[in-house]
């Protein structure tokens, strides 16, 4: 195992500092916290997709043993206002978030009544005694129909189309007329769930004496939740604290404010006791924000030499019951259109988006946001064009990637790519998988009745987005800055304090690596404090592949500034010129002498001992530094994924035989962690491509409310994953870091879809819909009349 100590930790495979506690069952997730006098909440959730709430009969529930109270929306309103996601976009309709459904339920699984009891068992017993009377309303489950429907989920909006957006560059019609080949169709990416292994959980403790509130929540965004609670509960800012302790995965699903968080806070305020809710898996699958659910009508025009001429994409996003806070309903579908042109030189583009409300759970941030769907569509179009032109799909991509001399390149939707190794990634992945040899192997396998295929997906993403634009389109909240505070404690240990919130990424390790290098301290002397809104004046959290870039930059700035302060203090203590003092291995040294002291000795001398430092110096030196970093634009991360699949003609199941990722995430802080992020993202992308689908029937009833019906891939379904890193020094971020937490999930669905299409090309089958379940493949193959006959090409 590599040593934790030593210079040059950035770039080293440092074992994670979180691991010992997590490996020994000593992690502290919200549901593990023991609090005196704790009350438990169970929510009665709507079993209707759309209905008016006529009344709640809770009389017998109140009489059940251990019951402290039964609450519906009106009961919480005196202490908790609603909050609404705001947007600068025209044609945007925000919808309010309440603790509990008020007057109307809009999806199956929406919380209506909260039962509070001395234990969760007793709360659930009482829940069964609560009767809610509903008047069913028309359930809207088809987004295109909902866009035209006269029934509106939110009558005050006057429409179900909650957001509209267009992007346009050049004359698409004219460019399409000039295209030698036009390919296109209707693409569909079905609804997906994030399925973090830890269900959402929150625990509120109100201190009436101090009028202060602490919420422990399994959230990615403690800072955003804190700011929202201040507004909702009308408390003083600094008396609301939101802590995300160990969090069992997020993937975007824990990246928004939830009604349950408001509810436990309101209940704790009203009951003057700590209150906890721990979601179960059914609650997670029916009420955590979901992903995708888009229909994309897209067309690509290409000339005879394979040059991309024009692209059009019309996106209808089924955003579910309303906007999610703070990201708005526009978040996912708008980014499908804005990222559609991909890493390609594409002069003419028109993209349009409608975000349509339906009676399903709201969609929200999910790993990749918009880009899994945009990459699926664009990469399918590229392969379809390649087939029509009889050009190799890899060659077609290489011909059209934005070239080195063209950076910074502005896409047709206005996104700016800075330099990133688009072609290098594809070439590296192809070399690793022996792309050139595949066709020969494929021909032989086909002779034996097998259906093998290969598929490429190349993409670019914007990461570490700075203050110039918000992480969500049109959202007026700055997500582009981070402040880090690094200080020497009186013991000589270093605290490094951040507003980000790790939910498995390993920020306690990676941020410590950066601080250690820039400060000259040993990593074991550094404690990273994160996930606590009270630790910093302002923060948001961890999402949008921002933490390594933005918090990493802030870590560099603040550690460097603190180092200067340490040098200044040491110059007095060691009686040397500041220029002669250096800090390394948690020691200060006078260069060329044996005069030195530990940070522990320095801290004691500075803070506790008299007469060691002149008064003037004491008043100017501070053994702490706070610095803000703003990457302003953000930076491009890119990758190419290549999948080789084998489809069983009997069962129509897809086996992934090999999966190679070549990615450019700039300078790696910790290659172990980078590998892990890529693997995890790819596995989720494979799930999205083949297995995972949230299904609602025509009445809006969810059919996939357990992990029996919602299929998450296991170790058997996920193949060995091969990852190649290309480190292109990023010119625009401090430290050269690019964000890479999401990319795996962006490329994998498209690569698998292209590989399946390649395998089934002799049957004339192209994949337009994901997930490509055995049933869907079976039906497509049946229609061609080729099932069970194999393809003796």
């Amino acid at each position: 195992m590599p040593t934790e100590a030593g210079p040059g930790l950035v770039g080293a495979r440092v074992p994670r500092r979180e691991d010992p506690r997590l490996l020994s069952g000593r992690g502290r997730y919200v549901d593990d916290l023991k609090v005196y006098g704790l009350l438990h909440v169970a929510f009665l959730r709507s079993d209707h997709a759309h209905a008016r709430i006529l009344g709640v009969d809770a009389d017998s529930a109140w009489r059940m043993p251990g019951v402290v109270g039964v609450f519906s929306a009106a009961d919480l309103e005196p202490v908790a206002r609603s909050i609404e996601a705001r947007s600068r976009m025209k044609n945007h309709h925000g919808t309010p978030i309440f603790a509990l459904a008020r007057d109307t339920v809009r999806y199956v699984g929406e919380a209506v009544v909260a039962v509070v009891a001395e234990s969760r068992y007793l709360a659930e017993d009482a829940l069964r005694q609560v009767e809610i009377e509903y008047e069913p309303l028309d359930a809207l489950v088809d987004a295109e129909a909902a866009a035209e429907a006269e029934t509106h989920l939110h009558p005050e909006a006057g429409t179900n189309v909650l957001a509209v957006r267009e992007f346009s560059r050049g004359d698409v019609e004219a460019a399409m007329r000039g295209a030698a080949v036009r390919v296109g169709g209707r693409f569909r990416f079905r609804r997906k769930a994030a399925v973090a292994l830890e269900n959402r959980t929150c625990l509120a403790e109100y201190d009436r004496g101090g009028r202060s509130l602490t919420l422990h929540s399994s959230t990615q965004v403690p800072g955003i939740v804190k700011d929202a609670l201040v507004e909702i509960l009308d408390l003083y800012d600094h008396r609301v604290r939101v802590v995300a302790p160990d969090v069992g995965g997020g993937f975007g699903g824990k990246g928004s404010l939830y009604g349950e968080e408001i509810a436990v806070c309101a209940l704790s305020l009203m009951l003057d006791r700590p209150v906890k809710w721990t979601g179960d898996r059914m609650e997670d699958l029916t009420s955590t924000s979901q992903a995708f659910d888009e229909i994309v009508d897209a067309e690509l025009g290409v000339d005879n030499d394979g040059r991309l001429l024009a692209l059009s994409a019309e996106v209808v996003g089924d955003v579910g019951a309303g906007s999610i806070y703070p990201w708005t309903a526009a978040l996912e579908p708008v980014q499908v259109a804005s990222f559609m042109p991909g890493p390609y030189r594409l002069p003419v583009y028109r993209g349009s988006v409608r975000a349509v409300a339906t009676n399903k759970p709201p969609t929200g941030p999910y790993r990749g946001v918009g880009r899994p769907a945009s990459t699926f569509v664009m990469e399918r179009l590229i392969d379809m064009a390649a087939r029509r032109l009889s050009i190799d799909p890899m060659a077609l991509r290489l011909r059209n990637f934005v070239g080195k001399e063209e950076f910074p390149y502005r896409t047709g939707s206005g996104i700016v790519w800075d330099e990133s190794g688009f072609a290098e990634c594809l070439e590296s992945a192809a070399a690793r998988i022996a792309y050139e040899d595949f066709r020969e192997r494929q021909a032989e396998a086909r002779k034996r009745g097998r259906w093998p295929g290969i598929g490429i997906a190349s993409y670019a993403e914007l990461t570490g987005i700075g203050s110039r634009i918000s992480a969500a389109p049109g959202m007026p909240i700055n997500t582009g800055t981070e402040t880090a505070t690094v200080r020497v404690e009186s013991s000589g240990r270093i605290s490094a304090i951040f507003g980000v919130a790790s939910h498995g990424q390993g920020l306690e390790t990676t941020l410590a690596q950066i601080v250690a290098d820039d400060l000259g301290a040993r990593i074991e002397d550094i404690d990273v404090i994160q996930g606590d809104s009270a630790a910093v004046p302002h923060s948001t959290g961890t999402y949008a592949s921002r933490s390594a870039v933005i918090a990493g930059g802030a870590a560099r700035l603040s550690a460097t500034a603190l180092r200067e302060q340490i040098v200044e203090a040491a110059s007095h203590l060691l009686e040397a010129a500041p220029g002669d003092v250096e800090v390394r291995d948690s020691m200060v040294h006078v260069v060329g002498t044996d005069r030195r002291m530990t940070l522990r000795e320095l801290a004691r001398a500075f803070y506790s001992e008299m007469d060691r430092i002149p008064k003037e110096a004491r008043e100017t030196i501070e053994l702490a530094a706070s610095k803000l970093y703003d990457p302003f634009f953000g930076t491009t991360a890119s990758a190419s994924h290549i999948a080789i699949v084998d489809i069983d003609p009997e069962t129509c199941t897809v086996k992934i035989e090999r999966f190679v990722v070549a990615e450019d995430c700039g300078r790696m802080i910790n290659p172990l962690v980078v590998d892990g992020q890529v693997h995890g993202g790819v596995a989720q992308g494979i799930g999205a491509a083949l297995y995972e689908e949230v299904v609602h029937d025509e009445s809006g009833q969810i059919l996939t409310a357990s992990l029996v019906d919602y299929a998450v891939p296991s170790a058997v379904e996920i193949p060995p994953l091969e990852v190649i890193h290309l480190e292109t020094e990023s010119p625009s971020t401090l430290g050269g870091f690019r964000g890479m937490g999401e990319g795996g999930a962006i490329g994998a669905p498209a690569a698998v879809a292209n590989a399946i299409s390649d395998a089934l090309a002799p049957l004339g089958i192209e994949i337009f819909e994901l997930p490509a379940t055995p049933e869907r493949l079976f039906r497509m193959i049946e229609r061609t009349g080729n099932h069970r006959r194999g393809m003796q090409a």
Binding site: M1, L197, D280, G506, V673, H679, Q684
Partner: protein, 170 residues
């Protein structure tokens, strides 16, 4: 409501006598009654495997077991493996190979992997994947977990107390 029942369970070598409701899940008994919160609950319907523990030497789902069913049994949870400052062989392999991220599936994964190692003297990659297929992980894509368990299988010299929980006394 059915009358409470007194049960005696040996957990990580300690005899625990408690009076519980018959409906109390073993997972809740461990987490809430005994404060052993290392055992996690991810689905409560036996799919995710986060709650996997050893019950009389076999890996079982504690969310599908009632506490009263464990009366007289020996249980080992993740807390019975190596401590944070003295990780056991398999835990160290998990750390070296970065086989965990959020850590939520990890306790169940360690128990299932320990079970695999104990029951097979040699393990192919396919056996490892199959053997862990009852434990879902959403962070790692399984790659590093499989590598860690393969490395453990290769290097493990068969010493009981190296890759396995401390032996329980009965």
């Amino acid at each position: 409501m059915t009358a409470k029942k007194t049960i005696s369970v040996t957990v990580n070598g300690t005899v625990e006598v408690r009076t519980v409701e018959p409906r109390l899940l073993l997972s809740d008994f461990l987490r809430d009654t005994l404060d052993l919160t290392g055992t996690h609950v991810g689905c409560e319907h036996g799919i995710c495997g986060a709650c996997t523990i050893f019950l009389d030497g076999d890996s079982v789902r504690s969310c599908l077991t009632l506490a009263v069913q464990a009366d007289g049994a020996e249980i080992v949870t993740v807390e019975g493996l190596g401590d944070a400052d003295r990780l056991n062989f398999l835990q160290r392999k998990f750390r070296e190979h970065h086989a965990l991220q959020c850590g939520f599936c990890t306790p169940g994964m360690l128990i299932s992997a320990t079970d695999l190692l104990r029951k097979h003297s040699e393990l192919s990659e396919a056996q490892v994947r199959e053997g862990l297929s009852g434990n879902l992980c959403r962070c790692t894509g399984y790659e590093h977990i499989v590598r860690a368990v393969m490395a453990a299988a290769e290097e493990w010299d068969g010493e009981w107390n190296e890759a396995t929980p401390r032996e329980c006394t009965s």
